[in-house]
Amino acid sequence: MVVQKKSKKAAENINARLALVMKSGKYFLGYKQTLKTLRQGKAKLVIIANNTPPLRKSEIEYYAMLAKTGVHHYNGNNIELGTACGKYFRVCTLSITDPGDSDIIRSMPSGDPTQQAS
């Protein structure tokens, strides 16, 4: 029961933080642009929707591992992620380059790639 409570609150948390990033920070939506930002080393956090094809998901995770960037698996599909970003289209992957006023980067990175396998 405790886990259920946490997941609902966590979902609201990230939505609120994302909204703040959309307002005050810099971000890139879409697969091609997230890869670009990862290659340039500009991405601070990458968020992936839960219905992205597994090959694409692992590709982005691999890039993020190389770039030592955190990946957050959003608890929702691309439609919901698009809504969370305040857009009227679907978003499967997005990358945050500048969080602005939000603390999404400090509190979110659940899987820090550097801590895992070297």
Binding site: K32, L35, K36, R39, Q40, G41, A43, K44, E59, Y63, M65, L66, A67, K68, T69
Partner: protein
Amino acid sequence: MGKFMKSGKVVLVLHGRYAGRKAIIIKNHDDGTQDKPYGHCLVAGIDRYPRKVTRKMGKKKIKDRSKMKAFMKVMNYNHLMPTRYSVDINFEKSVVNKDAFRDPALKNKARRDIKGKFEERYKTGKNKWFFQKLRF
């Protein structure tokens, strides 16, 4: 939060004639140039991998089977897949560079230099993964 497309990195070529081959980044241009306004890099890779060698084979047979064909190409980052491996080979910057593409003779010279360096490294037994064909 770090750039990883650096020289020495092993990448897989995804598009083009050399799709499926492994290559090493020699020189990268992250921000593009005047005539190529996108991130691209000069890569040197293996076109024809060396064949498998066993202990039973004689010296000459091993020598023939350890030959490989190399290629050199300027590729868009979007057409490459970076890996976590890197190979540290010093190519002669004067021979292996972007200018080699102007003249077929220069290009051949560069390719021969790359082939020589690859075969040298293959014989030492280091970077085994790079010299193995990617199975897919």
